[in-house]
């Protein structure tokens, strides 16, 4: 092709520079985005069910039912929100090529998730001891279903994060290749962003 552009062999205006056709988002990124949409609809269904029972009952919690631990869970909420910041900082560090700093932030995020789940588990045990079970009332049923589903999601996100953390320590993620960490970060931030809404509805409303 180059010979054809030489004087005497034709030529003319040079063609535009060759650019690699890079997509603006990876397939994994798009897949996780769709997953988050489905998850959001799943929780929307649970919240819709909660609204029906909550608004229909002016006295809430129902009589003879234990009160939920608002203060401890409030502190737990702050811990979880902080973990969303640390995972974003970890991702930024990996994107800059600072692997040590990135792994440190991922460790902090995992610790935040673990503390959140531990406190939740401890509070659940106390509530069970006080008589709030899945079948004790519609109040207990809704509480364990909604908060339990969220806890399962946090647990799944934590397992995913630990896998990503292991891969990061093994040097899999670089400045150019960080899709695995990026998708995990998306899921983690989604799970964290969902919590204040659930906390406000189930614990405070």
């Amino acid at each position: 092709m180059y010979i054809a552009r030489r004087p005497g062999f034709g030529g003319g205006k040079p063609p535009p520079p060759v650019r690699p056709n890079i997509p603006f988002a990876s397939n994994a990124w798009l897949a996780v985005l769709m997953l988050l949409g489905a998850e959001a609809m799943f929780f929307a269904g649970l919240i819709g069910a909660f609204l029906v029972f909550r608004i229909a009952n002016p006295v809430w919690p129902p009589p003879f039912q234990p009160r939920l631990p608002i203060e401890v869970t409030g502190v737990n909420t702050i811990i979880l929100l902080a973990s969303a910041i640390t995972i974003r900082l970890g991702l930024k560090a990996i994107q800059r090529g600072d692997r040590t700093r990135g792994i440190r932030f991922l460790s902090l995020t995992a610790a935040g998730g673990l503390i959140f789940l531990s406190i939740q588990g401890f509070e659940w045990l106390r509530l069970l001891h006080f008589g709030l079970t899945l079948s004790s009332s519609i109040y207990g049923g809704l509480f364990y279903t909604i908060i339990g589903c969220h806890a399962v999601h946090v647990f799944a996100a934590l397992v995913w994060l630990l896998v990503v953390w292991y891969e990061a320590t093994a040097g899999k993620y670089t400045r150019q290749n960080y899709v695995g960490l990026q998708t995990c970060s998306m899921y983690w931030v989604f799970v964290v962003a969902l919590w204040p809404l659930l906390y406000g509805l189930v614990y405070l409303y």
């Binding site: 040079p14 060759v18 609809m41 819709g48 608004i55 229909a56």
Partner: protein, 95 residues
């Protein structure tokens, strides 16, 4: 046989007319038009009605933002002269 089916259908239809209680058009009409239960269903339906639009809107907004950011990054890199272009430019190559 056809007469039998028609007769049975007629008897079944007339027996429905003999039913004294009202038949509701929807599964939750027993809640009435007003009151806390009707309010609860109204708010829940409103929430679930807006949820898909909010979710799809958020996804669309995120895709749009990512696309714009990617385009901006690519435009920024346009200032750098690509090496490939030199091989195509007769004036700059001096041939």
């Amino acid at each position: 046989m056809t007469k039998k089916i028609i007769s049975l259908s007629l008897v079944f239809g007339l027996s429905l007319l003999a039913r004294s209680s009202a038949s509701w058009a929807c599964a939750v009409c027993w809640a009435g038009d007003t009151g806390p239960t009707a309010d609860a269903y109204n708010w829940s339906v409103l929430f679930l009605l807006t949820a898909p639009y909010t979710v799809m809107g958020s996804i669309a907004a995120w895709l749009f933002y990512t696309y714009r950011r990617s385009a901006a990054t690519r435009e920024k890199s346009d200032g750098v002269e690509p090496l490939v272009q030199l091989t195509w430019n007769p004036e700059e190559s001096g041939r």
